[in-house]
Subunit: 154 residues, 2 copies
DNA sequence: GTAATTGCAAATACTTTGCCACGTA
DNA sequence: TACGTGGCAAAGTATTTGCAATTAC
């Protein structure tokens, strides 16, 4: 996202939160802007360690803000099999799937049409679940790790 | 799986591990058999709390065994957005996707042809990753939770 | 002024490791 | 006997909460 888009999205998120009784605070702005700035999922620790945030917010505050954003559907969590959870800002029209190395943890976005979207509507009907979204990850051994991971794993 | 299939699969797993220097122990048998018996992903805590296991194994042992099984590709971990990780026995020809309620955590298997398998081979070529598998989960609000989760989430 | 928010510190929960005794081959 | 394995206990890491002080409106 461009700086302009980041600003717009940040403003929009804050606006939506304010309509639900939340207050506009510096910490909130910083966290949303940083999430918008990043293109990839981040852990709470990474987010809290961002210089601008680190200087001005307590990690507990970051935690509570991200939880609030998640409650309101503005942030999603991702299970990438690391010890800690990853979070990602929800931006309309944007969706990515990931390819993760089970040996070194390297994660890359997959650039392809996601074949699963079409199923969501169908699934809503058949299951009765609402607000369905999906998460799709591929796991494997990346080229760099290939040599060190022998046939042992299979 | 039937009792017979559970026994067969347990024996096969142990056999494969033994070929790699592992020893046949009671704890190993119990853990694999329990994983084979269950149809759904389990956490380490759940596994360790299984009566037969609880009586005869320390949780740390269960942890180490599951890690070992995972190293050898016999168990996979699943990110279902709970605080703890879920594990699932790998059985050739079996694959399931899941639908999880973000409000109560209820998880159900989805009974449908998985539309993603076909992509794995293609992805191996384009990415250079080896031994690719995928994980696909759908998240949403289940019918039981629908009333209590107002429009707030959207 | 009122209610939401923050920082700090402490409590949980989950995961991981060290070490020595033990069991398997 | 030799080395993988198990139990117990402790350490490490991530997450979550309590509470008083602060800030937004």
């Amino acid at each position: 996202m461009s700086d302009q888009e980041i600003q717009n999205h940040t403003a929009e998120c804050i606006q939506r939160l304010r309509q639900r009784g939340a207050r506009r605070t510096r910490a909130l702005e910083l966290v949303i802007a940083e999430l918008a700035r990043r293109r990839s999922p981040v852990t709470l620790a990474e987010l809290a360690a961002t210089p601008a945030i680190k200087e001005q917010c307590d990690p507990a505050t970051v935690y509570r803000l991200v939880m609030k954003l998640e409650e309101h559907g503005m942030v999603r969590r991702l299970g990438l099999h690391e010890r800690s959870t990853y979070f990602l800002l929800v931006v309309a029209g944007q969706h990515h799937d990931y390819l993760v190395c089970t040996a070194c943890g390297k994660m890359e976005e997959i650039d392809m049409a996601c074949p699963v979207h079409a199923l969501e509507a169908k699934l809503e009907k058949s299951s009765g679940f609402r607000h369905i979204y999906h998460e799709l990850e591929f796991f494997g051994i990346c080229p760099a790790c290939s040599p060190s991971v022998s046939a042992a794993a299979h």
